[in-house]
């Protein structure tokens, strides 16, 4: 039985909603080493040789199983790059929960760069949840630079939920995906930056097969002096449909750059983008104040709802 200390427990709860060792397959990485690992009959987790990371092999036809691979860091000054490859067999239907929590109380930067590659087999269905969280009052930064590559075979589908609400000082997120015929990708990104944080999120989606479709939606809030850049390019190379949307609230001295991009290389590609940035509407605050909330409480409710 793995024993977690209080900080580890808190980080695991924030990034993976875990309160104890999860059911099913899992790999818990703490301060650069595996704290626990378990495979199941259908899901095998194999450590890589020669570099950090694991291969996660999911057998074809695996249904209703989950994989948890949270990463937690509590030592100040630790920097790591971890390579995780997911091989999802044909017609599998699984939930994958990743996520990284950094608690940095020291004065050295802590950095985790997770490089995730997904090979989603024919007809397979994946729900992927990735949460990032930072805590600790040290002057050292908490840095997360995730790279996610998704290769989707015919008629596969993937739903990605990317959440970073608090405490991560610097992020450069790169997400690339290639979709074959009939494949479907849905991305929901929720982001809040505060203090002097910086978050850059770049999506490149290539719709290569007929009937493929992608929906990339970001909702974000930039407070204090933070900066965000959302850069999403959908390229349609076949009879496909793509939609990207960035909806952002700015507060205080926050700054946001939204760069939605579309490229159609087929006359049958239907691509749409939307982007909106603005402060919280005054009448929203007033409505909640007429219900008895203070201005600060009203703002909090509006942001909570927006990022829900």
């Amino acid at each position: 039985m793995i024993q977690f200390d209080e900080i580890q427990k808190r980080l695991l709860s924030e990034v993976a909603d875990l309160h104890s060792v999860p059911e099913g397959a899992y790999n818990i990485r703490s301060n650069g080493a595996a704290l626990g690992r378990a495979s199941t009959a259908n899901i095998e987790i194999i450590p890589k040789e020669g570099k950090s990371g694991i291969d996660i092999k999911i057998k074809p036809g695996t249904k209703n199983e989950s994989v948890h691979i949270p990463v937690i860091m509590t030592e100040s000054g630790l920097k790591e790059a971890v390579y995780n490859d997911f091989f999802i067999g044909e017609d599998a239907d699984v939930v994958i929960v990743a996520g990284c929590g950094i608690d940095n109380c020291g004065n050295q930067d802590s950095e985790h760069d997770g490089i995730h590659r997904f090979y989603v087999g024919k007809g397979a269905k994946v729900k992927y949840v990735e949460k990032h969280y930072g805590s600790g009052n040290g002057t050292g930064k908490r840095i997360l630079n995730p790279v996610t590559e998704v290769y989707m075979e015919e008629d596969s589908s993937m739903e990605m939920e990317m959440v970073q609400i608090k405490g991560v000082d610097d992020t450069e997120r790169v997400t690339k995906s290639e979709l074959a015929k009939g494949a479907s990708l849905v991305v929901h990104e929720r982001l809040m930056t505060h203090g002097d944080q910086r978050a850059i999120s770049t999506y490149t989606v290539n719709l290569n097969g007929d009937g493929s479709n992608a929906d990339v939606v970001s909702r974000s809030v930039a407070r204090d002096n933070s900066y965000q850049k959302f850069d999403a390019v959908i390229t349609g190379n076949a009879a496909c449909s793509g939609h990207t949307e960035c909806d952002a609230i700015i507060m205080d001295n926050g700054r946001i750059l939204a760069v939605p991009g579309l490229e159609a290389n087929s006359v049958d590609a239907a691509l749409v983008h939307e982007a909106a940035i603005g402060k919280i509407a005054g009448d929203q605050i007033i409505k909640l104040m007429t219900l008895g909330l203070t201005e600060e409480e009203a703002e909090e409710q509006i942001i909570n709802g927006f990022l829900k």
Binding site: R219, D247, L288, T290, L291, G292, I302, G305, F306
Partner: protein, 253 residues
Amino acid sequence: MIEFKNVTFGVNDEGTDKEIIHDVSFVIPDRKFVVITGPNGGGKSTIARLIAGIEKPQSGQILMDGEDITQMSVTDRAKKGIGYAFQQPVKFKGIQVFDLIRLASGKKISMTDACQYLSAVGLCARDYINREVNSSLSGGELKRIEIATVLAKASRLSVFDEPEAGIDLWSFQNLIEVFEKMRRDIKDSSILIISHQERILAIADEIIVIKEGRVLEHGVGSEVLPKLMGTDSAVPECKMGMAAKEGEEDDTV
């Protein structure tokens, strides 16, 4: 009891000061159903906003139960027992109908409790309770949800700014029943409605006619209403329908 004492309010419109409310005084007593009517642009909605505290007067006083609330914030007035239903309901991204009703009630409430407020305004609660209060809802649906939030807040004085506008397929009679139930259920409560609707005026205990920012008339409903018939301060439903803005469905049940 709400009292306006010599209240004056104006705005600065492109460099020139424009007075909207001129030296207005009136009393809205407890346990009364009061309707403010008058021609468009006469300052009726401004009075509702002054009561809620969204606007502050340049001079004069607003009293609640004798206490001066002229400079009191919107929040504090809400806590003291003033409810306000917006003429144009506010939309939110992500906030659900249940969240809004829960916030309005000011306490932890169950789904069942929240559903009762929706049923009261003629919405099938099951279909709406988890909906986001955003543009996916029609103007009429938003309007009824707005009324439901004010119901849930259960205020001593509830102010409704043109509650009948755009309530589409819901009948007038139901709207009136909502107001009457509120009066019965909330002790010593009053309701103030901004409306030119004849059927709403017909059930008013008192009518205040506001024209060009002044009180033109204030008296017992049954005495004031006959004088208003045939003017644009008391419009029958069919005429309301013809005058309804494009995109808004009028209630003619």
